[in-house]
Symmetry: C2
C-alpha cells in the first residue's frame, strides 16, 4: 500500500508557494499552457497503470469498509474513466484562452488611456469529495487560465489523487512550470480544510464541490470568497396553456435522465385547470420508470395510486437526488412564482406554456441562475450550454451565476496610461 | 433631541422585508426608477432644514464628546454638503440603467435559444462610518439598479441618517415603491452588525465602507459575499529612464492632492541610477508642502534633511492617510515589482518611465486593481475613470475589481427558451 502522508503540513507555506507559482503562470503564453496540457494528457495515458494501481488501493479500502458498491463504481472507480479524463484534457487545450483579452477601452478628456485586461484570478482553492476526476478537471482548467491551485479531495481517494497530482506535476516540470502550481493537501485531517479557508492572503477563491454541508462549512468558516452552488431544488411549472403531450417527455427527461445531479427536477407545479387531466398522466409516464411522488393535498385528491403519498412539511425543501418527485397544484403563474421564491435554491426553474405573456412574467419574476421556457432543467451545465467546460455551477450572485467555465476563472485589471498625468 | 430608537430590532424580519421589496424593485422600469430618484432630490431639497436640524444634534453630541473639530467638519457636518448630495442624486437619475441588458445570445444545435440578461443583485447590505452622505449615495445607486438596501451607518450620525432615510422612504411611497426598499438599522448596538452579516438568505452582497478593522470584521464574520476594498498602500516606481522634471508634479499630486484617501501615494520606489539626483528634489518639492519621509537605509544615505527619518520595520506596510511618504531605492523594475508584491494592497500602483519594455513588464507583473503608466494613482475612482458613480473600490478579485459603479450592482441570469426540448 502507498504510504499515506502523515507529516505535519504547513498550509501558510503552501499558500505562499502557490502565490509565487501564480506569478509564473500569469506570464505564460497560451501556446506554453496548451503544450503543458497536452503533455499532461500524454503522461496520464502513459501512467494509467500506476494511477489505476493507486486507485485500486482506495477501492479495496472502500470495499473493506463496506461502502456501497454502486457508490464506489459511480464515484471512486477510475478504471473506465481514464480515456474520458484524458480526452477532456485535450479538449481544454483546444478551448480559447480568455487571459489577455482587453476590453472597455476609452480615452478620457485629460488624455488618459483607460482599458481593462482579463487576467488570472491567482490562486484557486478547491475542496471536493470522492470523484478523483475532479482533480484533473480543476487543475487543468486552472492551468489553462493561468491560475495556481490548492486541491483537497475526499479522504477515500487520497492514494488516487496523490498519484494523479504526481503525474500532473511531472508534466509541469517538463515545461519548466513550477510544480507548486498544482498542490494537494495530502492529509485526511479536516483541520487543514479549516486552515485553508483562512488563507485569504494567498488564495483568491474557494470552490467547494460537494453537498450542502460542505457548502455551509465553507460559507461559515471561509475568509476567502466562496462560490456557493451546486445545490438545485429545481421546479417546472406546467401552465394551463401548455402542450401536455409535449410536456410529458420534458418532465420525464428532467426527472429521470440523471436523477442524482443538481439540475434534475425536484418539484412539478401544475395549473389547477389542467391538474385533473394531466397529473394522472405524469404519474403513469414517470411511474413506469420507478418514480414515486410526494403530493400536496390538492394533488393527492386527484391521484389514487400507490406511488403517490402525501408530502410532508419539508418535502418541498428537499433536493431529492433520486427518483422522487414533489407535485403540487397551483392557481396560476403567480402562485407558481410564490412557491418557487419560497423553495427554490435559485439554480434552475422553468415554465411549460403556450402563453407568451405568462412566459415573460415567469422569466422576469423567477430569480434563479437559469430560467427555462419549454425546456428541461437538465441543460444547466457548462457543456450543455456550449461553454466547453465547467468548474462549478454557482447559485450565488457575485462574480458568476450558473455554469462557470474558463472566463469565470479570471478577473480583470484596469490599465491606465498617461503622459505624466496628474489629477486636476 | 430626537429619540434614539431603543426597541429590539428583528434583523431576520428586516431581511425578509428587503427581499420582498427587491422583487417589486426588479419589476420597475427605468422611467419609474428615475422618477423616484428625482422626487428624492426634490424632497431632500425641501426637507433640508429638518435634515440639518437632525445633523445638528449629532454635531452637538460630537463636540460635547470632545471629537476633533476638523474630523467633525470633514465627515459629520452636512451643512455645506446638501446641494452636492442633491445634485449627485439628479446625476444618478441621468446615468444609463444597466438592468435588462441582454447579451451573450446564441442558438445551440438542439434549437435552444440561450442568452444572459442583466438583473439586480437583490438586496445589498452596507456598513459604513461617519459620513452621512453615504446613506443617500448607496440608497440611490441601489434604487437605480433595482436593488433593496439595508444600511448601517456610524453611531455618531444616527440622528442624521434616520432623518435622511425618512425622506428617502417618503419619496418611495409617493411612487408606490415599498418603503422596505431602503431600511436602516436604527441602533448603535454592534450585535446587529454581526446579525446582519449572517443573513445570507436575504442579503446578496455586503459592502463595508470604512477602515481595515471594519473590513477584517466583515471578512471574518460574514456568511454573505463581502466586497473587500478601499485600503490602498499605493506605490509609484520611478524608473531610470523617467522624465524627472515631469515626474515630480505627478508624485506631488499622488501624495498631496488628497492625502487621506485610499488612492493617495504611500511609497515611492526610485531606481538606484537616478536616486542620488532625484530623491533630494522629491524631498524639496513635497517637503515644502509639509510632507515628511520614511526612508530605507539606501535612500537615507542620500538625504541629509530633518524631514527624512529611517523607515521602521513595518513602515512599508502602512497606509499613511496623511502627509508621510515612504521612500526606497530599488535596483530596477524587477526589484520594484518584488517590493510591490510584498507590500501592496492590490489597489493602485504605477511606473514612471520612458522605457516601453519596462512599462510592459510592470503592467504584466503588478497584480493590482489599477496599474498606471506615467500617471498619478489618484485616478482610481469611479468619477475619475469615467464611470459616473462609485459604490466602493474593490481590492479583491471576484465580481468586480477597482471602482464599482452601477453595473457592478447587478448580476445576470441565463434565459433558455426551447420548444419542449429535452436533453439528449
Amino acid at each position: 500500500m502507498l504510504a499515506t502522508p502523515t507529516q505535519t503540513l504547513n498550509l501558510t507555506d503552501m499558500g505562499k508557494r502557490a502565490r509565487a507559482a501564480s506569478y509564473a503562470l500569469a506570464a505564460l503564453t497560451t501556446v506554453q499552457k496548451n503544450a503543458a496540457l497536452l503533455t499532461i494528457a500524454d503522461l496520464l495515458e502513459q501512467e494509467t497503470p500506476a494511477i489505476l494501481a493507486a486507485n485500486q488501493l482506495d477501492l479495496d479500502a472502500a470495499y473493506a469498509n463496506g461502502t456501497d458498491s454502486i457508490w464506489i463504481r459511480d464515484r471512486l472507480d477510475l478504471a473506465k474513466r481514464m480515456p474520458g479524463i484524458i480526452a477532456d484534457v485535450r479538449k481544454v487545450a483546444e478551448l480559447p484562452d480568455p487571459v489577455g483579452e482587453e476590453f472597455a477601452q476609452r480615452t478620457l478628456e485629460n488624455g488618459l488611456l483607460v482599458k481593462k485586461r482579463r487576467v488570472p484570478l491567482g490562486v484557486i482553492g478547491t475542496i471536493y469529495e470522492s470523484r478523483p476526476n475532479v482533480t484533473v478537471d480543476i487543475a487543468t482548467l486552472a492551468l489553462k487560465t493561468g491560475n495556481a491551485t490548492i486541491l483537497r479531495g475526499g479522504s477515500d481517494v487520497l492514494n488516487t489523487n496523490l498519484e494523479l497530482v504526481r503525474v500532473l506535476q511531472l508534466a509541469l516540470e517538463q515545461h519548466h512550470i513550477p510544480a507548486d502550481s498544482i498542490q494537494y493537501i495530502a492529509s485526511t485531517d479536516r483541520q487543514y480544510v479549516l486552515e485553508m479557508l483562512k488563507l485569504h492572503h494567498y488564495i483568491d477563491m474557494i470552490i467547494p464541490r460537494g453537498g450542502n454541508s460542505l457548502h455551509n462549512f465553507c460559507r461559515e468558516n471561509s475568509t476567502i470568497p466562496v462560490i456557493i452552488g451546486g445545490i438545485g431544488i429545481c421546479h417546472l411549472f406546467v401552465d394551463a396553456s401548455a402542450n401536455l403531450d409535449a410536456s410529458l417527455p420534458v418532465i420525464h427527461n428532467a426527472k429521470t435522465q440523471r436523477p442524482a445531479v443538481c439540475n434534475a427536477l425536484d418539484t412539478l407545479l401544475v395549473h389547477e385547470k389542467i391538474a385533473a387531466e394531466f397529473l394522472p398522466r405524469v404519474v403513469e409516464n414517470l411511474g413506469k420508470d420507478s418514480v414515486v411522488f410526494k403530493a400536496d393535498p390538492a394533488a393527492l385528491k386527484l391521484l389514487d395510486d400507490d406511488r403517490v403519498t402525501l408530502a410532508g412539511n419539508d418535502d418541498f425543501d428537499i433536493e431529492w437526488m433520486g427518483l422522487t418527485l414533489g407535485i403540487k397544484v397551483v392557481s396560476g403563474v403567480e402562485d407558481a412564482i410564490d412557491h418557487i421564491r419560497q423553495h427554490s435554491t435559485q439554480h434552475s426553474d422553468g415554465i411549460l406554456t403556450e402563453d407568451s405573456h405568462n412566459a415573460e412574467i415567469f422569466l422576469n419574476a423567477v430569480d434563479s441562475a437559469a430560467v427555462y421556457i419549454n425546456a428541461s432543467t437538465r441543460f444547466t451545465d457548462g457543456s450543455a450550454l456550449g461553454l466547453g467546460a465547467e468548474v462549478a455551477i454557482s447559485t450565488q450572485k457575485l462574480h458568476a451565476r450558473g455554469p462557470m467555465a474558463l472566463e469565470e476563472l479570471t478577473t480583470y485589471k484596469w490599465l491606465v496610461t498617461g503622459d505624466y498625468t496628474a489629477r486636476a
